[in-house]
Structure formats: C-alpha cells, structure tokens
C-alpha cells in the first residue's frame, strides 16, 4: 500500500460523463490486482473533504487507469484536473477478484459504471488462461453509456450488451441476458460489478444454478483503510467492511435479506 502524488498522464472523455484517467504510479501499478481500488484525493483543499474510492480499471507499465463517471462534487472536481497535474493516490487497497490459474470460461457481468474493474480482470484472466472463453455481459440504461468496448475487444472478449431503452443490444436488463445464456452453458465462473438490484438478481441466479460468483461492491468510504468502519455491508456473519473485507466478496457470504 502506497501513498503517492501521481501525475496525470492521460485524461479522456469516453462519453456519457465517463472519464478515463491515466496516472503515473509505478509502485501502485506493479502491486495492483484486479478488483482492488485506490483512494483518490480530488483536490488539495477540504471541500470535498474525503478521498474518493475508485476501482482500478487497468494497470501496467507503471500506469494506473481509472474509469469513473461524474456523479457528484468529487468526481466533477476530478474531471477538471488536467494532464501534468498531480493527484493524491492511496493504494492498491482491498481484496480483489480471485482468478484460478487456469479457467475454461468466465462471465464478466457489468451494470453501468460497474464496467470499471472488468478490464483489468479480463486482462489478468487472458494472461493466465490464454484460451479461456470470456464473455462480457454489459447492461446500461441507454446506448451511449456503453463505454470502452474496444478495449475488451482487444482482449478477445465476446461482448453482449443490454440497454433498458433498447437503443443498443438487447432491450432489457443484463441479468436477463445472463439468464438466457446460462441455461445453455452452466460452466461459467461469474464475476460481477454493478448496482445492488443487479447483484441481488444475479445472486439468486448463481445460487439456482450452483455457479460460483464473485461480486465487487460499491460503498461510500471515508478512509479505505478499515479504520473508519463506515462502509459496512450485511454478511451472513454480521457486518463486513467493503474496504477491507472486500470490495470483492464471494456472492454467497452476503446477506441479501433486507436488500443491503
């Protein structure tokens, strides 16, 4: 875990308020694992006060890539930081995805900005299991929110998209796409990141078909280090801390009873 002032070496608007931020951070980059996150200080004053937790979109060659969507004051501020400026970066933090040394096929399921950790994961699986079949199931509200598809294509990931308004891909929810697929082939390992209702639906699906699934959760975090104890989620053994026990959890340890 490192605390560094990372130089912005790239900043691209990907559409629909999504930004790809490239940071020079050799220590963080060489230690990072898919599913882990960094805490980003968006400015050097105290409003917003806290760092923002962003999952690692990709890492390598001394660079950390973050893909985020502008949703509020913190991400808005970050989107206005330009190339050559430095931002405080803390990480890599948390427990990432577990990837078996050789994998036959994997389903990467992303809802909205849940696409962020999937690229680094796909890259890792591709490296470990060059012939693995990788399918990205990617759901958004409307077509323009589908971002970074070409990066997945470059890793020979098959892409299935769903939009709620039907502007691209199948009309409907991504979980339906997964369900249709799983009936014909249940050998997948599932990796997922997205809104809670999506993960919950996926949870019952995975349970029904006895498919191992790992999910990456999003939470408001103050420290990212396991000390403020703010980012809890209900697990079957009481509260778990998203920053330290996660953000990736085996789906079956989470307690979905009250939807939290």
């Amino acid at each position: 875990m490192f605390s560094v002032e990372a130089k912005i070496v790239g900043r691209t608007h990907c559409g629909a308020g999504f930004y790809l931020l490239e940071l020079e951070a050799p220590d963080v980059s060489s230690r990072a694992a898919p599913g882990q996150f960094v805490m980003v200080r968006v400015g050097d004053d105290y409003d917003p006060l806290l760092r923002r937790p962003l999952s690692i979109h990709d890492a390598g060659g001394g660079i950390i890539r973050l893909l985020y969507r502008v949703v509020g004051k913190g991400t808005g501020r970050l989107s206005r930081r330009g190339e050559g400026e430095r931002v405080g970066l803390l990480g890599p933090l948390g427990k990432g995805f577990e990837t078996p040394p050789s994998l036959e096929s994997a389903a990467l399921v992303a809802g909205g900005r849940g696409i962020a950790p999937m690229l680094f994961l796909a890259r890792r699986i591709r490296r470990q299991s060059p012939s693995a079949r990788l399918i990205l199931f990617y759901g958004v509200r409307t077509g323009e929110e589908l971002v970074r598809l070409e990066a997945f294509e470059n890793l020979s990931v098959e892409i299935r998209t769903a939009t709620e308004d039907g502007t691209m891909g199948t009309k409907g929810l991504v979980t339906q796409l997964v369900r249709d697929r799983l009936f014909s082939d249940a050998k997948f390992q599932i990796y997922a990141c997205g809104p809670m209702p999506m993960l919950k639906a996926l949870g019952s699906l995975a349970h029904e078909h006895s498919i191992p699934a790992q999910v990456s959760l999003e939470a408001h975090m103050s420290c990212g280090l396991g000390v403020c104890l703010g980012c809890v989620v209900k697990s079957k053994d009481g509260y778990a801390h998203v920053c330290r026990d996660g953000p990736v959890f085996p789906l079956d340890v989470l307690d979905w009873e009250d939807g939290k």
Partner: protein, 308 residues
Amino acid sequence: MTNPGPVLETRIGDLVLKNPVMTASGTFGYGAEFAPYVDLNDLGAVVVKGISLEPRQGNPPPRTAETPCGMVNAIGLENVGLERFLADKLPYLRQFDVPVVVNVLGRRVDDYVRLAGALSEAGGVSAVELNVSCPNVTSGGQAFGLDPEAVQTLVAAVRPAASIPIWVKLTPLVTDIVRIGRAAQEGGADAVCVGNTFPALVIDVHRRKPKLGNVVGGLSGPAIRPIMVRLCRLLACSLDVPVIGIGGVMCVEDALEYLLAGARAVQVGTANFVEPRTTVSIVEGLRKYLGEQGVTRMDEIIGKLRLE
C-alpha cells in the same frame, strides 16, 4: 556537539509525550492499519478505537455522510471488545516506543470501572480516555457527559480502579463546558479532551430521508475547528489539569491554534482519513515552527496566545 533542535516534548500530568501530536479515537484503528504510512514511534501517543466490555457490531449503514469541510458519522462504536483487544491488538502496539491510550465506553459506571481496571493491569497502556460523549448510541456515554454530577461520580468511581492516568473526552454540546471540565477534575481526572463530535443531521431531500441509518450522527472535520478551539481555551484558562484539543486538525497551523489556545497536546482525527501521514507532517511542521519562532521548547508556545 550538534544543535539538537527544538524539543517537542509535552507533559499530560505525569505522562511524558515526545511531541504533542496524537491520534483521535476511531480514526486510527488499533494502530496497525496505519503502519504502512506512519512510523508509530514518531507519534506523541496512539489513541485507539473505543473499547467496550463486550464486542459491538455497530449501527446499520449508511454510517457516514460528507458535508462541506466535514463529515457526519454514526458508526455506533463498533469494536472488538476488551478481551480481543487485549489478546489481538495490544501486543502489536507494545512493540513501539509510543504511549498507548485506550478510549473506553460503557453503559453503566461499573463498565468503565471494569475496563479501566483491566487496562491498568494489562501492561502497555499509558492512559484510559473515558468516552462520556458519543452522540451515536443510547449507551455511548453522552448521558454522563451532559451532567456535571454524573461526570464527577463516574470519574471518582473509576479513579481507585485505575493505576494509570484517566482522561475524560467531553462532548462540546453543553451550555457550560467549564462546569463539566471542573467536575471531571474534581472526580480525579488527569486530563480532559475537548472534544467529541457535534450531534448533527444530514438529509437526502430527494428521498426525504436521513442520510444515515442511525438518523443522527456526529459532525467532525475542519468545519468544527474554530468552535473547538474556543472551548479548548475556555477550559485551559479555568482548569488545573491539562487540556487536549481535538477537532478538525488538518495541518500544523491548525494544531498550533489549539496549542496557543492552551492545549498541551492535540488529537488528529478526520484528517487521518484524508491524508494518512497528517500526524507525522504536523510533527515536522511543529519542529520547523519552533525554529522559526526562535524557541526551543513546546512550553514556550502552549497557551501563549497574545491578547493585547
């Protein structure tokens, strides 16, 4: 001989701190979490997350909400409990040359007595900090902290059980903080800490719901600092026991405000979340400041606010 440079040492009663910068309870875990970023030996003291007799699982989420220059939390005193603290957490801290202060909280007077007794006997604990001010749980001690008689009774009851110094962490939201501080002193406290967070409410107007699962929480961060500096000065001018300043210390200038107002030390809280190396940067900054001011000891700064 080379110039040794300014001496940052400060005393809280009989306890000597190598510098006046400590961590605030609940913002530094049990120390180990910050070891990748901070050499714990460089701190004045480590104040660990509040401990209760039994483990507590804390409040339902969401537990924190950000506000302008601040944050509101309602963690609900989640902690591992006394037994696991002594078995799993304290041994790690004993390896360092740094005083360990344990914040304790209870439902009844007897809980505080038992906690202080056990921590005194454990070895390696330099002081207990009685939490009489958590706003977030019904048993968080705030019922004690609002009432001078209850504070005095509590401290007096803990006194014979504790062979180590007793600090009392006060709530800032009282009509007359000096009365509460005096009550702690009369009860036998070795120091008072001012203070805990301010009770606060943040509302999500779109959902018309509170932003915290616990509805209300405690406000911390730079937003509260000027209020706390004033309370700190009121206490420092009125009490014989040392005062420890807490609230929104983000940098060396902030720490100096408390020290000039009369605090013998400060605790750094929320800033640990923003920048994990805040404490050690402040220590460095103090050394530089003393040099610039041409003084050699902390005592030449503490309480030396100029009023003319």
